[in-house]
């Protein structure tokens, strides 16, 4: 079962009630179980809207017989709560998703909603807080935490409900580099430890590069998808829609334009540097 698709999206479109252009325009894609998927695209391209469709906060337009399946469950009115048990989302603004009065209260929020008995909550909550390294702040109030710490609490709140999928919707974009790296390394660890599937929406090219699969959105359309290598090597396409490309991909593109032949398997800055050094010594 290691390679099945945990998310299957087919022919999904969505328009917000008061707008004429669709926010999501006939999108289909799959996400492999246990994989890391990045979604990139400029502001307003529909990235957050897709996530809201996946966890049933929004309902796709009727046309084109759309279907959304999460962990083998077809998303309907009756299954939406089951689906939400499987998908945890960390949102962009650290303050606007902190519901509880203290760290422990906030981590418990999802458990309270699911009617978990108090006797179990007192066991689960400290464990989840410990997993994100926030134990010494258990009773701290959000006003006394940094943005990165609040995002760690948000992750703990998600871990507490033992989801299958964790979504970062620009979760690191309001953090300083240190906070950002902490969040990413926690998510990486948790992914390994609990066999999670990660979807990360990001403007940060290094973060996008952590993925197995990249989806590129533009004006509600999925314009390209594939491995980081295939997607980021489409330098001109990405530049056309105003997206960043990893620095070494830009160099590769420029070198190739100058008719310097590069092998296909250069996947990182280091490999490129090594190759160029060898090239130099050959000349």
């Amino acid at each position: 079962m290691a390679t099945d698709n945990i998310i299957k999206i087919k022919n999904v479109s969505f328009s917000y009630p008061e707008s004429d252009a669709p926010a999501i325009d006939n999108i289909s894609f799959n996400v492999k179980r246990g994989s890391w998927t990045s979604i990139i695209g400029h502001n307003g391209s529909g990235k957050s809207t897709i996530i809201r469709l996946i966890n049933g906060l929004l309902v796709p337009d009727e046309n084109g017989s759309p279907s959304i399946e999460v962990d083998g469950i077809k998303l309907t009115d009756d299954t939406v709560w089951e689906v939400r048990n499987r998908v945890g989302i960390v949102f962009q603004n650290p303050d606007n998703q902190f519901v509880g009065a203290t760290v422990a209260d906030d981590v418990a929020f999802g458990l309270e909603n699911r009617g978990i008995p108090h006797s179990e909550m007192v066991k689960i909550v400290p464990e989840a807080i410990k997993a994100v390294g926030m134990s010494e702040y258990t009773n701290a109030e959000p006003a006394n935490l940094s943005g990165g710490q609040k995002q760690r609490v948000a992750i703990a709140g998600i871990l507490a409900i033992k989801p299958k999928i964790i979504v970062l919707d620009e979760a690191t974009s309001m953090l300083d580099p240190e906070g950002r790296n902490q969040i990413l390394s926690i998510v990486k660890d948790m992914k390994e430890k609990y066999d999670l599937t990660v979807i990360s929406i990001t403007h940060d090219i290094d973060e996008a590069n952590m993925a197995d699969q990249v989806l590129v959105m533009n004006d509600g359309k999925l314009i390209t998808q594939g491995s980081t290598k295939t997607v980021f090597s489409q330098v001109s396409l990405l530049k056309n829609i105003g997206l960043d490309v990893p620095f070494f991909e830009q160099i590769k593109e420029k070198l190739q334009q100058d008719a310097i032949k590069l092998p296909d398997n250069l996947d990182s800055e280091k490999e490129l540097i090594n190759y160029l050094c060898q090239l130099n010594s050959k000349m």
Partner: protein
């Protein structure tokens, strides 16, 4: 400044801090009701001693309690003076048109003064030793019977706790916006009332918009985290009665007994 919360909780460690907020809230309400039983010098002496004992039990500096009384001192004095000059009875010492000084006036003024002061003291004992969130929990408990008439007490309680949680966030926002406006030359501290009120307007609009955005984000996050109303919801934060609370409430029953015995019938 950003750490301000509603209420005036002061960190400390005494038996009052270890009491259940429900017990403290109940005791405060009972005390306020009981004070109205006092109607002669000895019963007023009893409530005074009782409230001072409660103040002492907090082991906090008297200044904290003086800070509680201070904002209301003029109201207290004004009300006492009204009693002093408008009560007629007993021996009348002085009289001029509608004003009079009488022995009844003196005692009434003193009684009113005591009544006000002890009520403020006891409420201060509660608010300085109990975190706002605990007070909200206690209010929720007190309102529970209203569920019978279909009042959504749990929802109200959640709203209260979220409101409390966002007070510092709103303060932060306000200061950020103020600084942003200041850096563009806005002046919030000078000028007359009208000028200052005008300076506040460009502060309120972004604050209002920010709050709306926060509310929308928050509701999205809550729903994503599985919030679906009160049905089947359990609670992580639970309050526990202890012996201290029973002893505390016993004292208040004792107070009631004493007042019933010593008041003038």
């Amino acid at each position: 400044m950003s750490k301000i919360l509603i209420g005036r909780y002061v960190a400390g460690d005494s038996i009052v801090y270890r009491m259940d907020p429900r017990g403290k809230l109940l005791a405060t309400i009972l005390f306020i009701l009981f004070v109205f039983l006092a109607n002669n010098p000895i019963s007023y002496l009893i409530v005074t001693i009782f409230s001072l004992a409660a103040v002492a039990a907090t082991k906090l500096k008297p200044k904290i309690f003086w800070d509680g009384v201070k904002p209301l001192i003029w109201l207290i004095l004004f009300t006492s003076f009204l009693q002093l000059f408008f009560t007629v009875g007993g021996t009348v010492y002085w009289r001029w048109t509608i004003f009079a000084l009488s022995s009844y006036g003196f005692t009434n003024a003193i009684f009113i003064f005591i009544r006000f002061t002890v009520i403020i003291l006891i409420s201060t004992v509660m608010t300085v030793t109990t975190k706002p969130l605990e007070i909200a929990d206690a209010i929720e408990w007190l309102l529970k019977p209203l569920k019978l008439i279909r009042i959504p007490v749990d929802k109200i309680a959640l709203v209260m706790s979220i409101a409390l949680r966002f007070v510092p966030t709103l303060f932060d926002e306000t200061f950020k916006i103020m600084n942003a406006q200041r850096s563009r030359g806005a002046d919030f501290n000078n000028g007359g009332l009208v000028t200052r009120a005008k300076a506040i307007t460009p502060l309120l609009v972004p604050l209002f918009i920010n709050s709306l955005e926060t509310a929308i984000d928050l509701s999205t996050a809550m729903e994503s985290r599985g919030y679906r109303g009160d049905k089947g919801r359990t609670k992580f934060r639970v309050l526990k009665w202890s012996n201290v609370d029973f002893i505390n409430l016993f004292y208040f029953v004792l107070l009631l007994g004493l007042l019933l015995v010593f008041r003038t019938h």
